[in-house]
Subunit: 340 residues, 2 copies
DNA sequence: CTATAAATTGATACCGGTGTCATGACTTAC
DNA sequence: GTAAGTCATGACACCGGTATCAATTTATAG
């Protein structure tokens, strides 16, 4: 089996099959201009030798690599991991590889760095989870460089084939209806930084959900946090110290919602008896806290997978099928209960 | 500035500098056989044109890519993320890119898949965090393929340049001494699967730490979990139902330790008054739980960074310096207190 | 000043694929 | 049966670099 120590090249296959390397190339690339007999003969040799084309050489000739870049700058590693896993699910066995690239989206050199990264590596495609996906200059650069890309974000910023929308607003609206249906009327909101599109969308969705139940968001009950645990503690302390204390708090991510637990404990308040809490992300901590926390779940891994399917052709997955719709889902646990 | 739309190649630079492409190649590769004047002239052109060699072409000629593979199969995504971040820290600006590759270490086709992956991509190097790092067949394969690699694991399984040791045992020993010093004598252990080297090492370290204080591990107080929350709940339930109930529980990871919180609550026991808990990993949940959990911290990101420094030459980091020693550290919080 | 050694440099082949275009074989039309 | 068109294939250049080795220049020795 192991005749020579080095992997066979296209020349070896061509010689063994008694054809030119160009014909082997045609077989590899599924050119229709190959006689059936020839194709089979070549494929037999390919199978016997275990030949696989060298991605570097192929990429050099194609002027395009077989690398997909994941460009991210998410404060929540959970998001990155999940997206990455999903992407890898979709890419497994496709012959493409995933190159990960964290960036600082506030860096003035971001665009230059991205240009160099993409041009140098001649990336086949790029996946941009939020908040990087929200940078229109970056999207413009990708179009200029003629690279395939998929942006993952909470709202449609691009044409369908290039944008995967997670509809964060719908999930937030569901949370709003849930709390309203439990009888809450003084519902506080701990938002993330308004520079994040997700914060804006989630807030909008939350407000529209409240509106559906005839409620509106009291500006005095809105705090802007930084998507961190500490900022959640701080915001919750202020909210829980109010004379007209809210009976429920919705947080735009679980980190901050966890901070509400801490603040509530310090204020001597019980969850959910004194204050209901609903988070966003359904991170692993949500179900570990006591009481287990209600939270809006985004199918992050699925989103990564779908983005991958949109980007790379995968022979193992035959059906290109319609792009499934991503829907957030409210997971109701014990941290949200009837008011009173 | 932007004369032509395509990036300059080595030929452009050679023509503009009035030398052959081979000389430009020598300058790029820092060959000592280039006259100072020539080198400067070429470097000037390189700077002016913004030329950068094509990694694919270079890799093709070198028979080696500029890709580093991260091969992992860790049930705890936190570990993967942290290692990955550290690796990327070390690789930033080096010209190398990180390709991530999750695997199933129990798959019978693992070795074949790895061989194909490494040979096809002609990887420059590979990083193997535990538990993948514990597979000796894989290490043998990497040596056969003549690929640089760094194994990250709890104990030395390879020569120093190829192994980064995290000394999990020391951290576990510290936890043991900590609990013993608090007066605990009936100390339970919830272990991970013994197929994980980390479990074995942590347990050994824990036992030696107990021995230092004149204690020994009671086999009746040892449960083997699966490194999951659920297994932690199950193991803790059994332990806390014992007549001779342990006054402290050490868990070989935080997931299981979090399960002890749940089991204790269900059993009506208080932490730390009725039972002290110490975890391992110092994952983010440890400090969010109530009471905040004592846990052994491993500098995972630093480990990734050091592994990266061991693997890739980085011009931005001049000092190769001695390999720093990785030391676990016990973070004492409120879940461990004097026996009483 | 000449012979010899050492330092520089470039011509050419090659890494392992693909694109272009010409060529020969085979059909189909008349 | 011959002309024209289609199909199948290969020769050769090329993608953008590096390796080899010979050629040229410069330095050192005698």
């Amino acid at each position: 089996m192991e005749g020579s120590s080095r992997r066979p090249t296209i020349n070896d296959v061509a010689r063994m099959a008694g054809v030119s390397k160009k014909t082997v190339s045609r077989v590899i690339n599924e050119s229709p201009f190959v006689k059936e007999d020839t194709r089979k003969a070549v494929q037999t040799i390919i199978r016997e030798t275990g030949y696989a084309p060298d991605p570097q050489a192929r990429g050099l000739a194609f002027r395009r690599s077989f690398l997909v870049g994941l460009i991210y700058d998410n404060p929540n590693p959970q998001h990155t991991v999940s997206h990455q896993q999903g992407l890898l699910d979709a890419m497994a066995g496709s012959g493409f590889e995933l190159v990960v690239r964290p960036v600082d989206r506030t860096s003035p050199r971001l665009l230059d760095e991205m240009r160099v990264f993409i041009e140098r590596q001649k990336l086949f495609g790029v996946v941009l989870p939020s908040p990087v996906s929200e940078d229109e200059r970056l999207a413009a650069l990708l179009q200029e460089l003629d690279v395939r890309y998929v942006r993952i974000g909470s709202v449609a910023l691009d044409e369908p084939g290039r944008m995967l929308v997670s509809h964060d607003g719908k999930g937030a609206a569901e949370a709003a209806r849930h709390l309203a249906d439990l009888g809450h009327t003084r519902i506080a909101l701990i938002s993330g930084p308004t520079s994040f599109r997700s914060s804006v969308e989630r807030r909008k969705g939350f407000e529209s959900g409240l509106a559906e139940r005839g409620l509106s968001l009291d500006p005095a009950l809105v705090k802007v946090g930084g998507y961190t645990y500490e900022s959640g503690v701080g915001a919750a302390k202020e909210l829980l110290a109010l004379k007209a204390r809210p009976t429920a708090v919705f947080c735009l991510n679980d980190e901050m919602a966890t901070g509400v637990y801490t603040a509530a404990r310090e204020a001597g308040l019980r969850i959910p008896e004194d204050v209901s809490v609903v988070g966003f992300d359904d991170s692993s901590i949500a179900s570990r806290l006591w009481p287990p926390m209600s939270s809006v779940r985004l199918p992050l891994r699925d989103m990564g997978r779908i983005a991958g399917e949109m980007l790379v052709p995968n022979p193992l997955r035959d059906k290109p099928k319609v792009q499934p719709d991503i829907q957030p889902e409210l997971i109701v646990r014990a941290s949200s209960a009837k008011v009173g």
